[in-house]
């Protein structure tokens, strides 16, 4: 008798997805549709071959921003909010391990983000199509990179939300994401603070996930090739960092008192 761990993870994931969708997480799509229509109209006005870049640029940037905001703010609430409200109590009294709960939450929000990103990608293609451009599979590579970045944000948000309150967790995750987008600044830290020890700079550089790795927007928009090997490498990179973040979150949650 009894469900397997995977069944339970799926149960948590599907209910997390349902909750987030009903919490009107997908409303950003309205704004996105508006943005796409606007840039599409602009493009048809200009009708210069080069300027389809506008649509791609706007579209990919909007996906990035909306996705990151959702991953961050919903992500930090997934665990800490539920601990505060004690809605985890009846679930954890069931045959459900804490790590299964964590993975289920991760998968559930990951799926919400996938649906969201999928809808926005479809909108982007539709706009390009409506303005007379052909299909462009390259775009999907940029979207894929973006999605990996979002999953990593969720993993970090979950980690911080097992450690502290949702507000503080949001601040920490946000700081880490910003730091990760400007990670070359960390590398160049010794130029700004000459006294900074090399090992500290190295440590920081490797501890902070490099979110720029996931960013293929410029390459795709300007038609530079994105090699498959590059995609494979960032996949491994995201998987490794994500696994570390989720394991740390699991360790933090495993023996935590939930009063």
């Amino acid at each position: 008798m009894g469900a397997s761990g995977l069944t339970r993870i799926l149960a948590v994931a599907s209910n997390t997805y349902r909750e987030t969708v009903r919490e009107r997480v997908l409303y950003n799509l309205v704004v996105f549709a508006f943005l796409m229509t606007l840039s599409g109209l602009l493009l048809s006005e200009l009708s210069i071959r080069e300027d389809e870049k506008i649509v791609k640029d706007v579209g990919l940037a909007a996906m990035d921003i909306f996705g990151t905001l959702i991953a961050l703010f919903i992500g930090v609430g997934l665990v800490s909010k539920e601990i505060d409200r004690r809605s985890l109590h009846p679930l954890l009294s069931r045959p459900l391990r804490r790590r299964e709960l964590l993975l289920g939450k991760f998968a559930g929000l990951g799926f919400t983000l996938l649906v969201n990103l999928g809808a926005m990608t479809a909108g982007l293609y539709l706009t390009l199509f409506a303005t007379g451009r052909g299909p462009e599979p390259q775009l999907l590579k940029a979207v894929y990179g973006l999605y990996l970045g979002l999953l990593l944000v969720v993993a970090l948000a979950l980690l911080f939300s097992t450690l502290t309150s949702s507000v503080l967790a949001a601040v920490c995750t946000f700081s880490l994401v910003v730091a990760g987008r400007f990670s070359d600044v960390i590398r160049g830290m010794q130029d700004v603070i000459p006294g900074a020890p090399t090992w500290l700079v190295r440590l920081l550089y490797f501890a902070v996930p490099n979110f720029r790795n996931f960013d293929f927007k410029a390459q795709v928009v300007y038609g530079d090739p994105v090699p498959w090997a590059g995609l494979a490498w960032v996949t491994l990179y995201a998987a490794a960092y994500g696994a570390v973040a989720l394991s740390l979150a699991e360790a933090a949650l495993r023996h935590k008192d939930l009063p």
Partner: protein, 321 residues
């Protein structure tokens, strides 16, 4: 309750738990001290104690929400860390809270899925249980629109989703209207008929008195008493209460020995009469042409026990800490 003792369903051994108190200097404040108890199959076990005595803490430790500092417990034959017993147990938390955007039916279905129940069973049981707790009309309303008592009812329903052998309820009557309280009593009695075990905490002593086979009384984290009500309470008649009126009763004097007290209530007189003095007292009343309105045997109630044993010493441990 006779014959060979039934199988042990819940066994708690030397459980202790302290919470951190204070912000900077982390003082430890004991919430449970060396608690041991045993609950057997088919029992309705009441877990009593004043506010802050550690009832909820005990139940949270059992459900794996909070970790004990020392001690252990076995539930349905398995250690606490095991998942296996959780398939056969149900738990109602104190002031339950669920999800805002799920409906009652969806929530129960979710819990059923975690317990590994097949779809057909879940569908049938969710409908039946929501009907049972009086929410048959609100199955598809999001839980954020539910009142406190309605949430408590959802909590009861979800505790029963897997048809559990052991039901652990933290103050099941709290927040319920009189009909709701009656419902909980009926549910508990029905579980007993099905030979299930119920372990519940409560402040409502009359409920414990009418429902429970055995009780444990907790004070400041330690057991004060545990056992059958007849063992804890003095169920022998300690005295009689006699209510009389009329005649030429002199309320102030002339009572036969054994009449411990009397009180004039308007036209009536209330007497406290020791068991052996009942007949002389009644004869005395007859001689004075008084009319006896009622004769009530007085037993010790759980409330008397509480007032005598628990109340005077409450707070004593706060001084020592």
């Amino acid at each position: 309750m006779s014959g060979t003792p039934a199988e042990v369903v819940l066994e708690v051994r030397n459980l202790s738990k302290s919470y951190r108190a204070g912000h900077l200097r982390a003082r430890l404040r004991p919430a449970l001290k060396d608690l041991s108890l045993t609950v057997r199959r088919g029992e309705i076990f009441g877990y009593l104690g004043p506010n802050g005595s550690g009832k909820t803490t005990t139940l949270k430790i059992l459900m794996g929400l909070v970790f004990p500092d020392s001690g252990s417990a076995t539930i349905l034959g398995a250690p606490l860390e095991d998942l296996s017993w959780k398939y056969r147990a149900g738990y109602l938390p104190e002031q339950p809270y669920f999800y805002d955007y799920l409906t009652a039916r969806e929530y129960l279905d979710y819990v059923g899925r975690l317990c590994g129940l097949p779809v057909s069973v879940r569908r049938e049981r969710c409908a039946r249980l929501l009907e049972l707790v009086g929410l048959g009309h609100s199955t598809d309303v999001p839980l954020r629109r539910f009142s406190k008592g309605m949430l408590q009812r959802v909590g009861l329903a979800q505790a029963l989703v897997n048809d559990p052998d052991l039901v652990i309820l933290d103050e099941p009557m709290s927040g319920l209207d009189p009909l709701g309280r009656r419902l909980v009593r009926d549910i508990i009695l029905d579980l007993r008929r099905q030979a299930k075990t119920v372990f519940f905490s409560t402040h409502i002593l009359s409920d414990a008195e009418t429902l429970c086979d055995r009780v444990a009384v907790l004070r400041a984290g330690s057991l004060v008493a545990t056992g059958h009500l007849s063992e804890i309470l003095n169920l022998d008649v300690s005295h009689y209460e006699v209510l009389a009126t009329g005649g030429d009763l002199d309320p102030l004097g002339g009572w036969p020995p054994g009449v411990r007290g009397h009180e004039v209530l308007g036209e009536r007189v209330r007497l406290e009469v020791a068991e052996e003095a009942l007949l002389p007292a009644l004869e005395h009343l007859r001689d004075r042409r008084g009319r006896v309105l009622s004769v009530n045997p007085i037993r010790q109630s759980l409330e008397d026990f509480f007032l005598a044993e628990v109340a005077p010493r409450e707070g004593a441990w706060e001084l020592q800490d």
